[in-house]
Structures are given as structure tokens and as C-alpha cells.
């Protein structure tokens, strides 16, 4: 017995250090990748950003005419509005459903059903975005025309529904983990005090899992902002300030995806697309920063 144990502890340090080294490398590489990507995107766009681009026009004008022969205009305002409006719409649809489903899976459903349900949710996450886009282009397009009597179904609503369907699985799985992480003693204590199941969820679990739930929502939102293919196909891809959910829009990501293939490297248009990349980077950075500050604020309370 004693000899065996000695043997295994003698082996342990090597495998332990190897794994530790590997994990360390993984951690450092992610930092390197983020900075590397930011450096690359910034380098490609910086020349025109500081020398030539009218930043005020870029942020406030709706005139997006990068392929004009004589009068090129790079106004990204409609694209920014499009990105935000479709993301907000998607979150309005996805957050209630996602959090509701997470509460159901973690608190209300039987263990046997839970596993099946989780597998199905994971399947939903595995559907490629181009398939969602195709569904938006054909099925949802027709459905919106019939239900809302819209002239055309390729709208913000269509894109929002597609994005909501894509971010629900993320929200569900992260929110469910957050709810599971709440110690059972909380539930037991609440039930001992005579709380109903709903009161346990509403008064105890949701406040206790606040951070995790917020992270779930923000990761879902990040997925929506970054999504390209589905919104490219489902929103109509039109430079337009939306007047409601049935307007067609174009997003920042879809613009990069649609136009980067055509431009010559180093061209003004090419650089502007990278400036849009910088803008997207900044947006996600600000969203993450706000999330961090909010979570810190909650912790200090």
C-alpha cells in the first residue's frame, strides 16, 4: 500500500507540471491572439483613419457609397443603428425565453427530462449560422409576409428572431450553470421558511445568481453583435434607418462580410472596412467593460 502510494506521488510532479505548463500556454496564447488581432485590424485601418477619413461623417452620415466612381462616401451611421437595433430586438426576444428556460431546466423539470432537454438545446447551438440565414430567407420571410402583411419579410424582425434563436442556447446553458452554482442550502432554507417554488426562484435564486445571469445575457448579446451570415441573409442588407421592426436594415458585420471579398488590399474601401472592424472591437470592449463594472458594483453591495 505504502509503496504504491509513493510511486504515484513520485510520478505526479511531472504530469502536474506538464499540465500546468500547457494551461499556462493556453492562457498566454489567448492574450497574444487578442492583442495580435487588434494590432492587425488597427494596422490595416489606421492609415485612412488618421489621414483622410472624415470621422464625423463616418459616425453620423447614412451615405454609404464606397463603390461610387467619383463621389465615394463612407457614412456608417445606418450600419451602426442597424447593428444595435437588431441586437436589442434579439435580446428582447431571447432574454425572457433564455432565462425562463434556464430556470425551468434547473429548478422545475425532472432529472430525466433535464438531460434530454439540455441535449436538444445544445443541438440548437450547433446549427450553423448560414442555415439560420437560409431559414430566414425562405421560411421566415414568407411567414412575416403572411402574419404581418408586410410587403417583404427580409426585415429587422426576421434577423432579430434568427439572432434570438441563435443566442438562446448560450443564454440557457450559462444561466443554468449559474443557477446550479447557487448552494442547495439556500433553497432548503427558503423552503423551510415556507416559500413556494416560485418564491424560491424569484426571491432567492435569481438575486443569488445575478452575476452569472448577467454574464449569460451579455454573452448572448455579444453573439448577436458578432453574428454575420444570418443577418446578412435575413435582414434585407439595406442601408436604411429603421422605423420599426418591419424595416430592413444592414449591420456592420454583414457589411464587412459582403464587401471585403471585392476590395483591393490597401484600398481606401478596404481600410474603411477595417475601421468598421475597429469600431466593432470598441463596441464589444465597451460592452465587456460595462459588464465588468456592473458585476463589480454588485459584488461590493
Amino acid at each position: 500500500m505504502n509503496i504504491l502510494r509513493k510511486k504515484s506521488t513520485a510520478n505526479l510532479p511531472f504530469s502536474e507540471t506538464a499540465i500546468e505548463l500547457f494551461i499556462r500556454l493556453c492562457g498566454i496564447s489567448s492574450i497574444l491572439f487578442v492583442f495580435g488581432i487588434f494590432f492587425f485590424v488597427f494596422r490595416e485601418g489606421a492609415g485612412f483613419l488618421f489621414n483622410g477619413l472624415d470621422v464625423k461623417e463616418f459616425l453620423t452620415s447614412v451615405e454609404w457609397q464606397p463603390t461610387s466612381l467619383n463621389n465615394k462616401r463612407y457614412g456608417a451611421f445606418a450600419l451602426i443603428v442597424g447593428t444595435f437595433s437588431v441586437t436589442i430586438l434579439a435580446m428582447c426576444l431571447a432574454v425572457p425565453f433564455g432565462l425562463g428556460a434556464a430556470v425551468f431546466v434547473s429548478e422545475f423539470c425532472s432529472p430525466k427530462f433535464r438531460e434530454t432537454f439540455k441535449i436538444i438545446i445544445e443541438l440548437l447551438a450547433a446549427i450553423p449560422s448560414v442555415v439560420w440565414g437560409f431559414i430566414g430567407l425562405t421560411l421566415m420571410n414568407q411567414l412575416i409576409i403572411v402574419v404581418f402583411k408586410a410587403p417583404i419579410g427580409l426585415t429587422m424582425l426576421n434577423g432579430g428572431i434568427m439572432l434570438a434563436l441563435m443566442s438562446v442556447p448560450i443564454i440557457v446553458s450559462i444561466a443554468e450553470d449559474a443557477l446550479k452554482a447557487v448552494p442547495d442550502s439556500y433553497r432548503e432554507a427558503a423552503e423551510a421558511l415556507g416559500a413556494t417554488r416560485w418564491q424560491v426562484v424569484y426571491r432567492v435564486l435569481l438575486p443569488a445568481a445575478k452575476n452569472g445571469l448577467l454574464a449569460a445575457v451579455l454573452l448572448g448579446a455579444a453573439r448577436s453583435i458578432g453574428e454575420t451570415m444570418a443577418v446578412l441573409m435575413a435582414t434585407g442588407h439595406s442601408v436604411n434607418i429603421p422605423s420599426g421592426p418591419l424595416s430592413w436594415i444592414r449591420t456592420l458585420t454583414a457589411t464587412i462580410a459582403a464587401e471585403l471579398g471585392e476590395v483591393a488590399r490597401g484600398d481606401e474601401h478596404y481600410q474603411v472596412l477595417f475601421i468598421i472592424g475597429i469600431l466593432l472591437f470598441t463596441i464589444t470592449f465597451v460592452v465587456n467593460l460595462i459588464a465588468d463594472l456592473v458585476i463589480k458594483g454588485i459584488r461590493q453591495e
Binding site: 410587403p151 417583404i152 442601408v239 459582403a258 471585392e262 476590395v263
Partner: protein, 306 residues
């Protein structure tokens, strides 16, 4: 503790996945080598570009497998600009292009690869103007189209064209256009607006030639343009005149060949340098009577000499 064991389980999973990927990637070169050595004389021609031409290029590639077994053709779309960009980078053998290559691109390709792209006209495409089949209109002029699509255009509703469109309650014309990496987009803009005027923003810019016709087939308010090979029973093609006094011509083979139909254009293929070997054989076959038959079969217009 529980957290810890879950975490290490996850790490083991990640390591396994990475290891699996490593094994796969280290194996695959061997596999492809053995395939290559089995058919040493087999050549794969890479062909990429115009979405307008992708069905045509695919049909050629399929028929060509029956012509020779020593070469096969790999076709992908993405737009004329994408094809030319690939040609500039030297990653394709033949680029399909529904517009002529720009001088700047020609120069870049020569600079990058050391070979000047050679141009081949492989057929003609008539751009048809499509509307939903319930739209009470059969003909339109180029200046009218320019007012619909152009910047500061004056025609925004169907009644401005002098028609009552009962199937479209809002009466607003929904402009369907193409993404700006398509040769179709550039050609239509030039044919309508020349080089001085741009498209008005707010059109729906769709991804492919087929999507345009499909969406118009579902949308009574819409107008759009696409290759004439894509017509379905849900849409109709308008007859077009260059001015309001000129005669109207339908997009038919006869009118395109007679050069009376105003918006028709050549379709190009570009090879790097004077083509040789398998690439030359393929291009010669495309230009032969057999290859041109496929052009006609897919709704495009074959070269006159055949």
C-alpha cells in the same frame, strides 16, 4: 472540490480534442499524397468568380468529366471581384467575371504573379428587369429605371410610372439590388446611370442572382435585376427601351444576338498568362460548339460564330 474535478474533466476533454485534431491533421497529408500518386496525370483546374456564371461554370465542369478523364474542374462562386482577387493572388487557374477586368486589377495580377491575365469572352448575358407577375406593367425605359434606382431619383411609387398596382397596398417601389461585389451590380449601374451617378441607398442588396428572382416572386411591390436565365413562373421580365421614343425589346436570345436589347453584356473568363495544357484544352472546349450548347441551355446567349 466538486468544482475542481469538473474543471479537470473539462481540461482532459480539451486535450483530447486537440490531440484528435493533431492526429487528423498529421494524417491527412499522407492520404492526399497516396491519392495523388494513384492518378499522377490527373489535373484539377480551379475555377472561381462571378455568381451569375456559377451555374454555367458548374454545368461546364460536369459535362467536361465526360470529355476527358485527365482533368477535372473545381468551381466556386463568390462574385466577379472575388474571382479576380483570387486570380491576383494566384490561387485560381481561371477566374469567371461578368464584367471586364479593371486596369488596376490587370496591373496587380501581372505584378503579383508575373503573368498577364488573358481574356476570353465565353458567352453573353442579358440582364432582365424583373417584377412580380401581378404587377400591371410590361415595359419600361432606361431613364425610368435610372429615376427608380439612381440617387435623387424621382420615381419612388408605382403610380409615378402611371400604373395602379392593387397588389401593392403601400405603392412604394421596393428596389432589389445586388451586393456591391457582384459584376451584375456594376454593370447595371453603368448601364443605367453611367459613371457619374450612384445608386440611391436603401435598396435591398441580395446575395445572389437566384435570390433576387426568388424574393421578387414573393414580393408584389418589388422590382429588381438579374440574369435572364433565372426567370421563374412567379416573375415577369420587362421589355426595355433606351428612351421613351425608342422601340421596346424583350430579353430574348434573338434580341441579344441582334444587339437590340439594351442591357446585355459579355461574360468573361480570365486565365493567368497564355493558357497551356489542361487549361487551354478546357477553354477551347468551352468555346467549341459543344461548350456553347450549354450556354444556351442555361438561358445565356452563346457566341455568334457558333
Amino acid at each position: 472540490m466538486r468544482m475542481n474535478s469538473r474543471f479537470s474533466y473539462l481540461i482532459i476533454k480539451i486535450i483530447l480534442v486537440l490531440a484528435y485534431g493533431f492526429v487528423i491533421s498529421s494524417c491527412s497529408p499522407k492520404d492526399s499524397e497516396s491519392v495523388a500518386s494513384k492518378a499522377a496525370s490527373h489535373v484539377t483546374i480551379k475555377n472561381k468568380g462571378s455568381d451569375t456564371m456559377v451555374n454555367l461554370a458548374q454545368a461546364w465542369a460536369e459535362m467536361y468529366t465526360g470529355v476527358t478523364s485527365s482533368a477535372s474542374v473545381e468551381v466556386s462562386g463568390g462574385g466577379s471581384g472575388t474571382g479576380v482577387a483570387a486570380l491576383i493572388n494566384g490561387t485560381v487557374d481561371i477566374a469567371n467575371c461578368s464584367r471586364q477586368i479593371k486596369p488596376k486589377e490587370l496591373e496587380l495580377a501581372t505584378q503579383n504573379t508575373g503573368k498577364a491575365p488573358q481574356e476570353f469572352i465565353v458567352g453573353y448575358d442579358a440582364l432582365a428587369v424583373y417584377v412580380h407577375h401581378d404587377t400591371p406593367i410590361d415595359k419600361i425605359t432606361i431613364p425610368q429605371l435610372a429615376e427608380i434606382y439612381g440617387e435623387n431619383g424621382t420615381i419612388k411609387e408605382w403610380r409615378h410610372l402611371g400604373i395602379t398596382h392593387t397588389a401593392c397596398p403601400s405603392d412604394k417601389i421596393i428596389r432589389i439590388s445586388r451586393q456591391s461585389n457582384s459584376g451584375t451590380y456594376f454593370y447595371f449601374r453603368e448601364a443605367l446611370l453611367g459613371t457619374d451617378r450612384d445608386f440611391r441607398i436603401g435598396s435591398l442588396d441580395l446575395h445572389g442572382s437566384k435570390d433576387v428572382v426568388e424574393v421578387i416572386g414573393r414580393t408584389p411591390c418589388a422590382i429588381g435585376y438579374s440574369g435572364m436565365g433565372y426567370a421563374t413562373s412567379h416573375v415577369k421580365m420587362l421589355e426595355i427601351a433606351t428612351t421613351s421614343d425608342a422601340p421596346y425589346y424583350a430579353p430574348t436570345l434573338k434580341n441579344v444576338l441582334a444587339k437590340t436589347y439594351p442591357i446585355a453584356r459579355p461574360l468573361y473568363m480570365y486565365a493567368l498568362g497564355e493558357p497551356t495544357g489542361a487549361i487551354k484544352a478546357y477553354l477551347d472546349w468551352i468555346l467549341s460548339a459543344e461548350g456553347q450548347k450549354i450556354v444556351e441551355k442555361l438561358g445565356f446567349v452563346p457566341l455568334e460564330s457558333n
